[in-house]
Amino acid sequence: MNNISGSIKDKSFLEILNKFKTGIGLLVLVIVLSFMSPYFLTIPNLLNVVRQVSIIAVISFGMTMVILTGGIDLSVGSMLAFSGAVAAGMMVNSGLNVFLAILIGLAAGTALGLFNGLAVAKAKLPAFIVTLAMMTVARGFTLIYTNGRPISGFDETFRFFGAGYLGRIPIPVVIMFILLIVIYILLKKTPFGRYIYAIGGNETATKLSGINTDKIKIAVYALNGFLAAVSGIILTSRLNSAQPMAGEGYELDAIAAVVLGGTSLSGGSGGVIGTIIGALIIAVLNNGLNLLNVSSFYQLVAKGAVILLAVFLDRKSQQQ
């Protein structure tokens, strides 16, 4: 009898563990850092970390969808910069109302994403090349539009999106959470989301099942552009300045968050919950290394090693 209840307890413990398996690397990291730095596990620092993660997280949600279809998007950083610059330019140079300017910024990002989608789905060009080209082109647009200079001098209202609070919760965190939930539901509960997985799993079969796979892919890339634009608005507001070089290299962080979170680069399996955990691993790591005052060259080594360890732990626990 004892034995049976024992094994039942074991089982439910294992099941709980199983639910959180993607998070085990993060968990270990958090525990270790709590012991190593007294500053780490404090409310201000944790709020700090989630605010820091929000920019990359929002991009990586879009990236998750793109990767789920079996694609990739290297242009997120450039689309982010372009959208931020356009919104800033609309406010500062064209004197537009804050909300209108934001809308135009979002539209700009979405339009670039749409172009990516069309080139991938309709012209059947490899996503890697299409978005690499877009990465360069959109950066060029941004530099041309800004003449290589940051744009600043915004209304106070605009500061809200990057620097405002809802109670104690920073607005970027609120935005990130809302998007996380919306995209989670989109992926798990709507036909659109299901088709995204199906395309990544087997595009031919999906097409033969009567789904307009081109339309879905175009929508996914456009949505990704939109989310990059959202990130761009938050970042511009947070920095109180639109930087022409903003977001450089973010594509690698975003893809890393997605893959760390267990989404396969070949598409078809994974999701945004894993992605947010992946993004948190990266952010917590950056924060922790700063708190521990690891010197910057050694930070690089430590960062790489810990990421490797985190993904190793995750995969091991999933093999159980």
Partner: protein, 273 residues
């Protein structure tokens, strides 16, 4: 009692900033104060995050070497809101008052280089400008100063302006290509020494070292050596190590409640031998 300083560096991917950091850290050691250094890897957003991380650790003074003068304002505001005074080094913050600013003037440096080249060429000649990473303040300001100088002389003509990423390999490649397209070049001004040294290799390989004078910026060791050997004509010396030292000295004064100057210029120097 113990003083804790935070130093936020724009990037350590360039020996210039490594010197700045080393200067700051050795001065801190000398004065017996703690210094926490973070590196933003040239990303303004990452600089803001790492400053936030420093503030969590309750530093007494923040020394920041901005990735960008506008974007750094958020980080400075965050520090000042937390009651932490801020000192900027090398690059200034725009549109916000800081306790002290320690820097050399990049626009002036660019102009200095331009004037030097014009003088050497007898105010008449064809010049190539190797630009830094588009959009960075160093590229902007040095380009601005240099072109202001060029505009002063009717005989001076900038025949090619190309970006080469502040990088030595890229400096070489871009210069190789420019050499192909321009049979007549009298001088090259590069926004930093890395590019100048890359260009120097390309020019030497093309056998055109005698016709083309090279001027760089930063006075890193390799460039000083090249100037000494006559392979480069000049480099504009900033004194990053000194900047770092001065920043720490000033910060300690601030922490002790002493008065400090609002702006401390670090002299530029044209190294020609």
């Amino acid at each position: 009692q113990d003083i804790k300083l935070g130093l936020a560096i724009s990037t350590l991917n360039n020996p210039f900033f490594v010197d700045l950091k080393d200067g700051a850290e050795s001065m801190a050691a000398e004065m017996g104060v703690e210094i926490l250094t973070v590196d933003a890897q040239n990303d303004a957003a990452s600089q803001l995050s790492s400053v936030e991380d420093l503030l969590i650790k309750q530093i007494d003074v923040l020394i920041v070497n901005p990735v960008d003068g506008n974007a750094v304002v958020s980080a400075i505001t965050a520090a000042q809101d937390a009651g932490v005074p801020v000192i900027t080094v090398d690059r200034a913050a725009e549109g916000i008052d800081v306790t002290s600013h320690i820097a050399s003037d990049n626009v002036a440096g660019g102009e200095m280089a331009g004037d030097f080249i014009a003088k050497q060429l007898g105010e008449k000649g064809k010049v190539v400008e190797l630009q830094g990473i588009p959009g960075t303040s160093a590229a902007r300001d040095r380009g601005k100063g240099f072109n202001q100088a060029m505009d002063k002389y009717s005989g001076m003509e900038v025949i090619a302006r190309q970006p080469a990423g502040f990088d030595r390999a890229e400096g070489m490649t871009v210069m190789e290509n420019i050499l192909q397209g321009n049979p007549e070049i009298d001088a090259v001004f590069a926004h930093n020494d890395n590019m100048a040294l890359g260009a120097m290799e390309a020019i030497a390989a093309a056998g055109r070292s005698d016709e083309i004078m090279i001027v760089g910026f930063d006075a890193i060791d390799d460039a000083r050596e090249a100037v000494k050997e006559g392979n480069m004509a000049a480099t504009v010396a900033q004194k990053p190590g000194l900047m770092g030292e001065m920043a720490v000295e000033t910060a300690v004064k601030v922490a002790n409640g002493e008065e400090v100057d609002e702006y401390t210029p670090v002299p530029l120097e044209l190294i020609t031998e």
